[in-house]
């Protein structure tokens, strides 16, 4: 793989530059009368090494993004390119097949036309690999020589290196902003394309969800893109059923652990709850689909509910609630711990029992923090994917019966994007619009919750 090769090359050259510059600095030191340099030899070494590695890394990053395009362009100048379909899926398949054979990833081609392209591919890949290596060497050489020639006994190498380090630190923290921006821009971009095809009013307030990825993309039926059943399913599973399980259990666990349990019990139980939080969601999903859902269906049928579905909202919601318990518990734990001890002592001194103190003093005082924790828990539950993908259904039902099958926003995102639909179809794009709604809602919940927590902490500090 040429990418790995280029990176190794960059590191090797950097090491060579490092060693050469250090030797150079040592020779300055020996030559100078008092044996002193403006900076230590190591800083001279790092200065040269950074001047070699950083430009090369930037080049490799850009190159690995544009090289495939250049290679394809070169291949398309081959004589056989006239016979290719003008665009679309088949053209891509033929080219991919030819490339796979040329790089040795596949043994032979299925499509006879692809054979024509194997040789051009091999040639173009070889040529561009060489160009990549040569440019890498040239950049490394230029950078290294430029830096090396600047080394002098009174050269302030440390200040330069530190300036570069500071720039790298700033760059690293900008990655977070770039990621946020990237999420926002890509979601907004695709959502606008979606709303160009489907009326936003129909999407946000329509009551019927049933996109057909095979329908004509030019003239989509807006009335099939009503997302209200999805929003309802998401809220019903994530914010109602899951919270009915998680809030009482999580809150009571936190209260027992902080107020009643002896330290030894606490030392054992807390890690166990953390294990519950650390179980991957795909395992919960499997558990829900394999064990809980059939049990609930059988139970419902034995009660006489003949329409009970094996993909009921109840199964997904219950398991999601169990997943959220440790989260609620640890948030409640923190909020209760933040209530000043004096309030608790005061209440106990007046003769209140422990549970009266907890219910009438501690919990009301900690309420803002607990509410914020519940909001964070809801935001986590509605964004949870694997449990609902595996245990809930893909059929959108607007119903208040927990035994009915229901679908959620995340299930539909997965369903729309893992199908065979084309990227220009409104059904596929609807996944981005749903993702955008999900992003905004979770962002809003988190923003408010963090605000509340902050203000609440300040109130007692």
């Amino acid at each position: 793989m040429s990418l790995t090769l280029l990176l190794l090359l960059a590191l090797g050259l950097g090491l060579a530059g490092w060693l050469a510059a250090r030797a150079r600095a040592w020779s300055f030191r020996r030559a100078s009368p008092n044996g002193r340099l403006a900076s230590l030899p190591t800083y001279h070494a790092w200065y040269v090494a950074l001047w070699i590695i950083l430009p090369v890394l930037i080049f490799v990053g850009i190159w690995s993004a544009i090289a495939p395009g250049l290679i394809t362009q070169a291949v398309l100048t081959a004589p056989a390119a006239d016979q290719l379909p003008a665009f679309g899926f088949q053209r891509q398949t033929i080219l991919n097949e030819a490339r796979a054979v040329a790089t040795g990833a596949a043994q032979g081609v299925f499509n006879p036309l692809a054979r024509e392209f194997v040789e051009p591919y091999r040639e173009a890949i070889g040529r561009y690999n060489w160009i990549g290596v040569i440019v890498t060497l040239a950049i490394a050489f230029l950078g290294g020589v430029y830096a090396f020639l600047r080394l002098k006994p009174d050269f302030a190498a440390r200040n330069r290196v530190e300036k570069i380090v500071m720039a790298i630190l700033l760059g690293a923290s900008l990655v977070a902003i770039l990621t946020t921006l990237g999420i926002f821009v890509s979601l907004v971009f695709e959502t606008i394309r979606f709303f160009g095809m489907v009326n936003p009013i129909d999407f946000l307030f329509g009551l019927h969800w049933g996109p057909d990825p095979m329908s004509n993309a030019e003239n989509p039926d807006s009335s099939r893109y009503g997302a209200i059943p999805l929003f309802w399913g998401t809220l019903f599973i994530g914010a109602i059923i899951a919270m009915i399980v998680a809030i009482p259990l999580g809150l009571m666990s936190a209260i027992y652990l902080t107020q009643y349990a002896n330290p030894k019990f606490r030392a054992w139980v807390k890690p166990a709850l953390e294990i519950l939080a650390g179980v991957p969601t795909v395992v919960y999903g499997y558990f829900a689909a394999l064990t809980i859902a059939p049990a609930i269906r059988d139970f419902a049928i034995s009660l006489g509910a003949s329409s009970a579905s094996s993909e009921s909202a109840l199964a997904a919601g219950l398991v999601m609630g169990v997943m959220i318990i440790p989260f609620v518990s640890s948030m409640a734990d923190d909020s209760i711990a933040a209530v000043p001890q004096a309030m608790r002592d005061g209440s106990l001194a007046m003769g209140a029992t422990t549970n009266e103190t907890i219910r009438r003093v501690l919990v009301p005082a900690a309420l803002p923090g607990i509410v914020a924790g519940v909001m964070l828990a809801i935001s986590r539950a509605i964004g949870e994917t694997m449990i609902v993908v595996m245990a809930a259904s893909t059929a959108a039902n607007l119903s208040a019966n927990p035994l009915d099958s229901m679908t959620t926003v995340t299930v539909q995102i997965v369903a729309m994007l893992t199908g065979e639909g084309s990227f220009d179809h409104p059904a596929t794009l609807s996944a981005f619009a749903l993702g955008f709604v999900l992003f905004l809602v979770t962002l809003g919940l988190n923003f408010i919750a963090l605000r509340v927590v902050k203000r609440f902490r300040e109130a007692y500090e």
């Binding site: 290196v161 530190e162 999420i183 995340t410 988190n446």
Partner: protein, 416 residues
């Protein structure tokens, strides 16, 4: 005159106190009940997975004694060492030999329940030890999925009867399946393995670690040590806190819209998966890193500055080494989360059927949680046990990682 103080312990009071104590007891029991419930669910979950999973590490195999002295197959050690071993044995009619001896040992009906690829296991054994062809040897070959489910007491009546009769003769057994740890995905539950997915997970985690750890640590250092108090810093902090709470599936949408547009050829490669998970893990590392850096007392910084260190030297020579255990703990926890993550990878196409372990960072791969998801979708009953076995492996990995994090925290945590 002195007023008589009314006795406090009136019957009404006593009754009320009794009620209050009863309420206290009820409340306490409810708290304990909540904990017991959570722990019970955890134990039940782990118990179901373990019980199911034990079977998943085994497979039903059929005994086939092969007398090579009659078969006339030659195994030249020089050929057997080369990559042409399989081809050579196939040309010499090994598949027919295996078929013949299977017919002999099991009868026609039983022999039909040995997979058509079973001779490859025999061939591999010969390639490993060419001396076998001089003697008689009994091979345990994988039974077909039908026979395996018959052995479990499921499936069709004939298969159950056949399995029972073979088992009674001692020719059908469930054996520990070593190959489960060296094979990749397959369509037949008897032939699947998790090494393919495990290797995909390892490659993906390497990419994630290589990106998220340096970026996360450097960002944490900048925010905690150097960032000026201004709007830009607030924006950076806000976006990191928000990224930590964004649902993981949104990162998948980002990977799909950005990474796969820039690198369309690397669909379902560990490189793209690792990059997507790195964006998700980075905020976790930043937040853990900042807490660890904050815990280093200011006196360390003042001392270093006082003897003439530059601000960069203070941080890289003194603060970072002291904060490193805390940062590592946070990193391991973040990596454990990334290892168990499925949803974002589902978005970027790592759900393809990959029948061989990935060779490098750019070849198509799947990861362990994704393999669990794919197997859980299979209709064949044999996959239920395999899925649970894969879950046990995944949970063991997570347990080791979290255990390591706790160990590091306890060993290196300093109270200043």
């Amino acid at each position: 005159m002195s007023e008589q103080i009314a006795p406090t312990r009136t019957p009404v009071f006593e009754a009320r106190l009794k009620k209050r104590y009863a309420a206290e007891k009820r409340f306490r029991t409810m708290g304990l009940g909540a904990i017991v419930f959570s722990i019970t669910v955890l134990l039940y979950l782990l118990g179901t997975m373990t019980l199911n999973g034990i079977g998943g590490f085994q497979r039903a195999e059929v005994a086939v004694p092969i007398d090579f002295t009659q078969a006339g197959i030659s195994a030249d050690p020089a050929v057997m060492d080369s990559s042409g071993a399989m081809q050579s044995l196939e040309d010499q009619g090994l598949p027919q030999v295996v078929q013949y001896f299977a017919d002999e040992a099991l009868g026609e009906e039983g022999a039909a329940q040995i997979g058509g690829q079973a001779w490859r296991d025999v061939a591999a054994a010969i390639a490993a030890d060419p001396g076998i062809v001089e003697r008689q040897e009994t091979f345990w070959l994988p039974a077909s999925a039908n026979l395996a489910s018959g052995y479990e007491g499921e499936g069709s009546q004939e298969m159950q009867a056949l399995a029972a009769s073979l088992a009674a003769e001692g020719k059908l057994e469930k054996n520990f399946d070593v190959g489960f740890f060296s094979r990749a995905d397959a369509t037949n539950p008897q032939q699947v393995g998790i090494w393919g997915a495990l290797k995909g997970s390892i490659l993906t985690m390497i990419v994630t670690l290589a990106l998220a750890f340096p970026i996360g640590v450097l960002a944490a250092l900048y925010l905690e040590e150097y960032a000026p108090k201004n709007k830009w810093t607030d924006v950076i902090e806000l976006s990191i806190n928000n990224l930590a709470a964004v649902p993981s599936i949104i990162f998948g949408l980002l990977g799909l819209a950005v990474f796969l547009t820039v690198f369309p050829n690397f669909r379902s490669a560990p490189l793209i998966g690792g990059m997507t998970l790195a964006l998700m893990t980075m905020p976790v590392i930043v937040i853990a890193g900042r807490n660890a850096i904050k815990a280093v007392p200011p006196s360390i910084r003042d001392g270093a500055l006082a003897v003439g260190a530059s601000p960069v030297q203070v941080v890289f020579h003194h603060v970072l080494p002291l904060a490193l255990p805390g940062i590592l703990t946070g990193t391991i926890i973040g990596m454990a989360r990334a290892l168990g993550e499925t949803a974002p990878l589902l978005m970027i196409g790592m759900r393809a059927f990959v029948a061989s372990p990935p060779d490098d960072f750019t070849s198509p791969a799947t990861v362990l949680p994704m393999q669990i998801f794919l197997w859980s979708d299979e209709i064949d009953r044999g996959f239920v046990e395999r899925t649970s076995a894969a879950i046990i492996v995944l949970l063991l990995f997570l347990l080791v990682m979290n255990g390591l994090a706790i160990y590091l925290r306890n060993k290196f945590e300093k109270k200043w």
